[in-house]
Each structure stands twice: as structure tokens, then as C-alpha cells.
């Protein structure tokens, strides 16, 4: 098992090196003539006005919050699914109940209008 994780560990470093190679090649091959106008923020030829990093529509973050609940829920369900053979019937229904509670959460978010794009 540890050998398998060694593979993943080496894979992470190699996978990071592979996309770096063309970037390093580009560094040597590509021309570099920076100037002030070229380095400006692109905005269809108009000078950009104001700060970009502003507070923005909250709706995007509401979705992120709802996502967080469901993501963690699924992680909890994986061990449940793997050990399905040895689970007693009670544990299966407990898992179903867990999903139902989350479905109730989704329903609540729905009725509250958290899923409306307005």
C-alpha cells in the first residue's frame, strides 16, 4: 500500500514539472519587450476605471455555502457505501435518514430563496 502512495507522491511532483517545461522553454525562446501600454489591464481598448477587487453580488457565495454542506455530506457517505456489505439494515436506513435530512436542508434553502438568481 505504501508503494502505491509513493507512486502518487512522485506523480504530484512530476505532474508539476511537466507543465513547467514549456513555460521554461518559452522563457528562453519568446521575445520580451515589455512596455507600459502592453502591461495594462485589458478592457477592450479603454482604460480601466476603479478598483477590480470589489465587493460583488452576494448570490455567488450563497451557492458556495450550499455547496459546502453537500460536499461534506458526500464525503461522509463514501465509507458508508464501501462497507455496505457488512452494514446491518439499521445502518442502511440511518444513511438514508442522513440523506433525507440533507434533502430537507436543500428544500429549506430552496424555499428561503437561496437558489433564486435575481
Amino acid at each position: 500500500m505504501l508503494d502505491q502512495w509513493l507512486f502518487v507522491g512522485i506523480f504530484v511532483s512530476i505532474a508539476a514539472v511537466f507543465p513547467l517545461l514549456p513555460l521554461v522553454m518559452a522563457r528562453f525562446l519568446a521575445p520580451r519587450k515589455p512596455n507600459r501600454i502592453k502591461q495594462e489591464t485589458y478592457e477592450c481598448g479603454i482604460e480601466t476605471v476603479g478598483d477590480t477587487w470589489v465587493q460583488f453580488k452576494i448570490q455567488y457565495y450563497v451557492y458556495a455555502l450550499v455547496f459546502l454542506i453537500f460536499d461534506i455530506e458526500t464525503v461522509f457517505l463514501y465509507p458508508w457505501a464501501v462497507s455496505f456489505d457488512v452494514l446491518p439494515l439499521f445502518a442502511v436506513f440511518e444513511g438514508v435518514l442522513f440523506i433525507l435530512i440533507l434533502a430537507a436542508g436543500l428544500f429549506y434553502a430552496w424555499r428561503k430563496g437561496a437558489l433564486e438568481w435575481s
Binding site: 511537466f18 520580451r32 478592457e43 460536499d71 464501501v82 436543500l106
Partner: protein, 395 residues
């Protein structure tokens, strides 16, 4: 073991004997063998992408009644190499206002996140990079880095279009992660293991037979995860220039591009492994080379569907896209998961197993259709409450 039966095991034994013959310590031998395996698997992914870009351009061209690349090399096969050379020799521009660190890491991360999935892909019987026992969870985990790279690229560019693309990425990619993770759970439930090799071995009947609806939902949410048409809101070129990668030039843009194509093909591979029996097929047990061919054919089939959808459908509006996910896909997948879990426990090992699971799929599908119909009727009534708009008549 001869070369023709299993070339990979044959060659790896040969190299291992050679290394042991050099009087190296066993741990060093293991390290070198693992390193060799990593380089082979990782380059397989990256070399595949060169071919895939050509393939996709050719197929998309045919869909649009064009010929596609046909100048560089036979059938335009060298077109991608020409593109790579062009991208490498282009000037790399980093905007003055950008957050330099995040700006430079993002394109690398976008390729890494997809490439990492290939570490656990079973190519054939016994041919797998790393058969870890949490394979599916690992895929879900490294897949999320892709979202991070999009967000980093959009935020660090300090460009309003890029930022809008990043915001949309948060809403879209994150939302579609939910049905994708839940449908990933269903093959795990049916196979009783998270290891991908185990999932393939458990499919004496393909899981798509037991769970056609989850397979479809997995494919849809995966297409949304890649951010392709009809879900390409994060780089919608007619609205926000190029979305999150507006400020990227040269090879850094190329990496985003390569990452997207590799991801699309990886989706095909994953669908094949999780629902269509992976490398299984006649003779694949004894001749692993056949297994690779089966897997690649199935994966190309899935990839073709992704291309087909891309060239056929227009982009959908953001509220429709989010409603489709949260009000349709998520409830349906939750219902399917509950039904399949209960039926699996009740009928596992009996003759009723397959009919029961198919019936569950049909019931959910029928329920979905009834609900959609009612919604359509209600919307039609709503529309009738308003008078018809006066239409300008020709004089």
C-alpha cells in the same frame, strides 16, 4: 510470461532485473521503478492531448461542414505541433496590476489537477499507476484543484472580465461538483470499493445497466465541470471576452487550453471506467493490450459525445444553468442514491436485483417527467395571464 502476453510486466521485470543486477538497494530499485511508471503514465496523458486537440478540431469542423486543419502534415496531424511552437515563441505578458504569484501558478495548477487523475486510472488488467483504496475520493479531491486554478486565474488577473469569469466559476463549477460527487458514489456503492481497479473488476455486467440515470447525470455534470458549451459561461467569449483567462498569453494560455482538452478526454475515460466496464471485454484478461484498446475505444466514445454536445447546443443562461443543477440534478441524484441503497440491501444476490434497480431508475425518471410537465403547465398558465403584445402590422 512472454512479451506478447503482457509487454508491460515483461519489460518491467526486465528493467527490475537489470537494476537489481547493478547491486542497488531494494528501496532504490523500487524508487526508480516507480519513477519510471510515473513518467510513462504522465507522458501518456500529455501526448494524448496533442492527438486529442487535432481530433477535436477535425470532428468539430465536420459538424460545422468544414474540413478543419489540413495543411500541416498528412490530414493536418502536425497542426498541434505548429500551434505549440507558435505559443512557445510568443511573448508572455503579465499585467502590471496582476497578483504575480497566483497569476503564474494558476495555469500550471489547471494542468496538474487533470493530470493527477491519471495516476489512478486502470488501463488494463494489472496495468494501473497506483491502485490506492480511496481512488474515487482521490479523483474528487484532485478534481477540485481545477476550480481553484480557475478562481486563482480570474482573481489574480485584476481584470474585470476575468473576475466575472471567476465569479461564474465559483457558482457553476462548485454547483455541478455536487451531483458529480453523488453519482460517483453509486458505482462505489454497487462495487463496494473505492479502488478503481476493484470497480472495473466488479462490473461483470456494466454498471450503466444497473444505473443508466446516474451515468447520464455524471456525464452532464462532468461536461459542466470542464466548462464547455453549453456550460461555458466562465469563458463566454461573446460576453466577457475570454473569461478567467483573458489576460493570459503564449504558453500560459496554452496550458489552460491543454488542461481543458485533457479534462474532456479524462471525463470520457472516467465514464468508461465507472459505468461502461473500463478495460473489460473479450480476451482482455489474458491480453492486457486488448484491455487498453477497449478502454480507449469506450473513452473516445464518451469524448465524442462531449464533442457532439459542444458543437450542437448553444450556451445557457446562468440562472437556468444553476436551476438545472440545484432544482433538478441534485434532488434527482439524492433520490436515486436513496432508492439504490435500499434496493441494493434488499435484493443483493437475488434474481430480482437487476429488475429492481432498473425499476428504480424508471420510477425516478417518470417522477421527473411528471414534475417537469406540471412545471410546464404552470408556466403556460402564468403566461396566459398577460395579454398578447401588440404586434406591428405592415401597412
Amino acid at each position: 510470461m512472454t512479451f506478447f502476453e503482457d509487454p508491460v510486466v515483461f519489460l518491467s521485470n526486465l528493467i527490475q532485473d537489470l537494476l537489481v543486477g547493478l547491486n542497488l538497494a531494494p528501496s532504490v530499485v523500487t524508487f526508480f521503478m516507480t519513477l519510471l511508471g510515473v513518467v510513462i503514465v504522465a507522458s501518456f496523458g500529455l501526448i494524448a492531448v496533442i492527438f486529442l486537440i487535432w481530433l477535436e478540431r477535425k470532428v468539430a469542423a465536420r459538424f460545422q461542414d468544414r474540413i478543419g486543419p489540413n495543411r500541416a502534415g498528412p490530414y493536418g496531424l502536425l497542426q498541434t505541433f505548429a500551434d505549440i511552437i507558435k505559443l512557445i515563441t510568443k511573448e508572455d505578458i503579465t499585467p502590471d496590476n496582476a497578483d504575480k504569484v497566483a497569476f503564474n501558478i494558476a495555469p500550471i495548477l489547471s494542468v496538474v489537477s487533470v493530470l493527477l487523475i491519471w495516476a489512478v486510472i486502470p488501463f488494463a488488467s494489472g496495468w494501473i499507476g497506483s491502485d490506492i483504496n480511496v481512488g474515487v475520493l482521490y479523483i474528487g479531491a484532485v478534481g477540485s484543484f481545477g476550480i481553484l486554478s480557475v478562481l486563482m486565474a480570474g482573481w489574480s488577473s485584476n481584470n474585470k472580465y476575468a473576475l466575472l469569469g471567476a465569479f461564474r466559476a465559483v457558482a457553476q463549477l462548485i454547483s455541478y461538483e455536487v451531483p458529480m460527487l453523488i453519482t460517483l458514489l453509486i458505482p462505489v456503492l454497487l462495487a463496494r470499493t473505492m479502488g478503481l481497479m476493484g470497480i472495473v473488476e466488479a462490473q461483470s455486467t456494466w454498471f450503466v445497466v444497473y444505473a443508466p440515470l446516474p451515468a447520464l447525470i455524471f456525464l452532464i455534470s462532468s461536461i459542466a465541470e470542464i466548462g464547455r458549451t453549453p456550460f461555458d459561461l466562465l469563458e463566454a467569449e461573446s460576453e466577457i471576452v475570454a473569461g478567467f483567462h483573458t489576460e493570459y498569453t503564449g504558453m500560459k494560455f496554452g496550458l489552460f487550453f491543454a488542461g481543458e482538452f485533457l479534462h474532456a478526454f479524462t471525463i470520457g475515460v472516467l465514464t468508461a471506467i465507472l459505468f461502461f466496464g473500463g478495460w473489460r471485454g473479450p480476451g482482455a484478461e489474458t491480453y492486457p493490450v486488448l484491455g487498453v484498446i477497449y478502454l480507449m475505444l469506450k473513452a473516445l466514445g464518451g469524448y465524442f459525445i462531449v464533442m457532439w454536445v459542444r458543437t450542437t447546443l448553444p450556451r445557457i443562461r446562468i440562472d437556468h444553468m444553476l436551476n438545472f443543477n440545484w432544482k433538478l440534478l441534485v434532488p434527482v441524484t439524492l433520490a436515486l442514491l436513496m432508492l439504490i441503497a435500499v434496493l441494493d440491501k434488499a435484493f443483493a444476490g437475488t434474481a430480482l436485483y437487476l429488475p429492481a434497480l432498473i425499476a428504480a431508475n424508471l420510477v425516478v425518471f417518470a417522477g421527473l417527467m411528471v414534475a417537469l410537465r406540471q412545471l410546464a403547465v404552470r408556466q403556460r398558465k402564468e403566461r396566459k395571464r398577460f395579454k398578447k403584445r401588440p404586434v406591428a402590422k405592415p401597412a
